[in-house]
Symmetry: C2
Subunit: 587 residues, 2 copies
């Protein structure tokens, strides 16, 4: 049975919705696919539901091919498992919490690691039951601070989340690879360009973790890639460490006056003006060592002041620092933090003074001192002398000061070398469309998922977690496939295969259109039939372009000559086709 526009729940809109920030949101609303209910919360209209179902069907097929079995968990879950894992707390304001009439705490689950772990614990108890991969396609909730960009970042959204259970690390690697391969097949079938980037593991501390990013200028993530094939998100980028240099024969450090040097730039200018290098090479920001004071709130409640030393031509990238200190929360040091450490002379902080070491666990202040990996032994620096209006020149790492360790705190820049030697990197923007992640034994340990191994010994299961944002993918496909007139769906996810328009008022034309529709349906095409009797061809064309079904068949005056027009939405090509050959022309 064709879907007839005379009797379909659809209203295309001429005006853009006021709240729409991105093209996909604007067009999906205007073309009658979705409708906003609250910030980040949408209703699905018939057209949108069809596209979503097609994406889900492709995901289901590839999950089945990967040996995963479908289950379905509630969105409403009790607090206890999330309390045990610690996430009830660590999610902070990011989730919806509620309680029932008896006062028991619940949440609307943002992801389901805990309850999948408990389900397997409930039902399985032997290595013979493993490996196991189970998944669901389910509506999830996050109380985003700024739900924006339509379906790209919603508060209610559909995800496919899969979880694997293995007894060994090798098993986990195989399960991980099976899901990773399935993801590649899924995104390929959906026609979605993707880059697989090494991802930071964040709070969960597993082993391998990769994100599938779709390169797009509206992406929320910045990632790093080289022409030679390296890709990573900014948090996971590893700085190439220079060779250490011998400091034999380097002169001793010298403390020099440096009034009015509140910035690296003013310090470099003063150095070049007052203290030029003997060999005439100008000082640059890269010759200075910038020391940034941060404070870390540790999960146990302790607050720690930390100093990070990095070349003066680099900035601290907080996203990278946050990962380095997780699960602690890191931020700038406050006046109160400085007050507790009078040994730090603001504006002139450095690891060394003429009275001895200033920074480092063993120093006068006892403050932990971490440096950028580029600050290798033997490098010489201009840095604060811990005396007002004085800097020290020629301070040598490994000789005059020793850091407590290195930290990936500096920003990543185009031209930085890729850690795998594949050449300089560039920065690009991307949107996360999938994530594969070796959880390891964290959840199994805290929730007690153990099985008997071949020797009858209880062993903790190792797990992986694999997510695809279904509704986000739909929005990204819409974002990538449109023109000034509307959506242009790829055939794999289009709401219909063919959009047939009957134009004009001639009953013979409408009768011919019915025949075309019947022959298309007989050939198993899914047909949207614009049989509205009183609209002008222009309105019907505009609606067809807005809705974006890939193939459009215009049944009009040509019927008298036995022809209809077949219109390719993507290319705009139109060609006359004899009525009897429409099915073949669309084949």
């Amino acid at each position: 049975m064709p879907t007839r526009l005379t009797n379909y729940f659809l209203r295309t809109l001429r005006e853009d919705p006021a709240e729409a920030e991105v093209t996909s949101h604007r067009l999906l609303v205007r073309a009658g696919y979705i409708r906003r209910q609250a910030p980040g919360v949408f209703a699905w209209l018939p057209l949108g539901l069809r596209v979503k179902a097609k994406i889900e069907a492709i995901i289901r097929e590839e999950m089945t091919n990967a040996g995963a079995h479908e289950v379905h968990f509630p969105a409403l879950l009790p607090r206890e498992p999330y309390e045990t894992s610690g996430r009830w707390e660590t999610y902070g304001d990011g989730i919806f919490r509620l309680h029932d009439r008896k006062g028991s705490d619940y949440l609307l689950a943002p992801t389901h690691e805990e309850v999948f772990t408990l389900l397997v614990k409930d039902l399985y108890n032997s290595y013979k039951d493993l490996p196991l991969a189970i998944y669901q396609i389910q509506d999830k909730y996050r109380d985003e601070a700024r739900p924006r960009a339509g379906l790209l970042r919603g508060r209610e959204f559909t995800m496919k989340d899969a979880y694997s259970f293995d007894i060994s690390d090798e098993g986990l690697d195989a399960s991980y690879q099976a899901q990773r391969d399935a993801y590649e097949r899924i995104f390929t079938r959906l026609g979605l360009e993707y880059v697989i980037v090494n991802a930071d593991n964040g709070l969960m501390g597993g082993a391998r973790s990769e994100e599938f990013l779709h390169p797009t200028p509206i992406g929320e993530d910045t990632f790093v890639r080289s022409a030679g094939g390296y890709a990573a998100n900014v948090e996971a980028f590893e700085t190439v460490v220079p060779e250490r240099v011998s400091f034999d024969g380097l002169p001793a450090p010298v403390v020099l006056d440096s009034p009015n040097t509140p910035t690296i730039a003013t310090l470099v200018d003063l150095a070049n003006a007052e203290y030029p290098r003997p060999d005439g090479r100008p000082w640059t920001a890269a010759d200075t060592l910038k020391n940034v004071v941060l404070a870390v709130a540790h999960p146990d409640g302790a607050r720690e002041v930390v100093v990070i030393g990095l070349p003066g031509d680099r900035d601290v990238e907080m996203k990278r620092v946050e990962v380095a200190f997780a699960p602690g929360e890191v931020g700038p040091a406050t006046e109160a933090d400085f007050a507790k450490h009078p040994g730090l002379v603001k504006g002139y902080i450095g690891p060394w003074s003429t009275d001895g070491a200033v920074l480092g666990a063993e120093s006068a202040t006892g403050i932990r001192y971490l440096v950028d990996p580029r600050v290798v032994d033997g490098t010489e620096w201009i840095t604060g002398a811990n005396v007002d209006e004085k800097h020290v020149f020629g301070l040598v790492a490994g000789r005059d000061f020793v850091a407590d360790g290195t930290v990936e705190a500096s920003d990543v820049r185009a031209g930085d070398p890729a850690p795998d030697g594949s050449g300089p990197v560039e920065l690009a923007r991307g949107m996360e469309i999938g994530h594969v992640f070796q959880l390891g034994r964290f959840f199994a340990e805290v929730l007690g998922l153990k099985v008997l191994d071949e020797n009858g010994k209880l062993v903790t299961v190792t797990m992986g977690s694999y997510g695809i944002g279904v509704t986000r993918i739909l929005a990204i496909i819409a974002e990538d496939n449109n023109d000034g007139k509307g959506l242009v769906w790829p055939a794999s996810v289009a709401p219909f295969d063919v959009h047939v328009l009957a134009t004009g008022k001639d009953p013979a034309v409408f009768e011919a259109a019915e025949g075309v529709v019947a022959s298309l349906e007989a050939a198993r095409f899914d047909v949207l039939f614009d049989d509205r009797p009183k609209l002008s061809p222009g309105v019907k064309f505009a609606d067809a372009e807005l809705i974006g079904v890939p193939k459009i068949v215009i049944v009009g005056r040509g019927v008298a000559d036995g022809v209809v027009e077949v219109w390719d939405r993507a290319t705009g090509d139109r060609e006359n086709v004899p009525i009897g050959e429409v099915v073949a022309a669309l084949g």
Copy 2:
């Protein structure tokens, strides 16, 4: 690809779950269909998800046949529309409420009338757009006080809810009938016995309202039916009103002493002992008029004391009274209520005293007096005389007292006449599986859904609401289709068409089983294949009986003779079939 038990997420259980109150719950958990997550909240395992998908597919087909279009709303909805309709308040403790990080109020929707109304208001504006029927299959939430009986009454449950929009009452009737017909087709295809009962409209006050009840001893609803085809739920049953009797020539009422008559039974005994009827017929409870004092809390905050008079052989049925006074909330009068009405002499209340009328809007007390429809003019009663230890005999309705109206307050009993003259009724228990309901213009009025009619005039749309409990239906089918050994699914919703067992250890048998499975799959049967190599036939048989696929094929020693056994789960019949004829035997 067959589903192989060597690699499927399934664990059958030997033990009944401790919390299971009904057979369906017990078997669905034991056979690996569902798993409890919290009271009234379940996860769906692969087998359960398959049955649910089959039920949903049947519902979708019939909704399409009824001309309804599928949409999908969020579960998480903002407070405002429900505030406007008044239901944010009237739901009381029955819904889950929550708020987001900004403090805005939300609910987990228990039903979606408000937002469907607003969606149509948003998109449509003309009579030309109507009629319209839209539906969703979606997870709903109710914070039940006592979630019980597994899926039969959950806190998270799946419903199909449809809504119709029409411009005229005739249109609504047609839309209602289309959904009602679809429901009959759906329940017939699911093999579910149903009775359509007239239902009370409850709070919403529309026109037609019918429930589809499935007769079952575990049903939560009592309904009334006659052999002649009448059916109604108890709340909607209408008492047959006796003809009024002439009171010409009846004697005047007499006040008589009646000490120690705290109950109707003691009153009747005293009457028969002390004041026998002149004609010798004994007094019975039916000769007495019982007056019950209730208090109604009206929505505007007013509290009203009301007295209901009914024959002494009847009891007040609170469910019926609640409907009569909705949206007010009715309950027994408290001591405080009595204290405000000293004119009521507890234990001896009646509408009349020697000083004049005691009950009724125009009486000394001013208390509204409503009577059972059987208390017609001319009937004679023994009732309280409003004096301690005294009753009045021969008090005649319509002569000695006049009520303010009638009320359907009495219980319904087997043998009561059906209001349509189709004979005496019997009482049966049933479970609601569907509800079709003419909402009328309530939601359209409060939410402002108007469209232009043919004359360009704005008119308020009239609506219907149509619900089917998907997960409840699944449980009811399980409840009705099982035996001592497990589930016995009807073919229309079975998780698989055929369950093939390979028994023993002979590789030739397993190879033959692979061939049988391949030929069944080629014939488009959906096959569950028990290919587990090391289990005894007894374990495999027991699992097959527990899981309940309707047709089981046992591939075993008979393979040497070219035969397999085909086992009908429902009848228990087993027959040998040549391997090459298995497909035909199952056809």
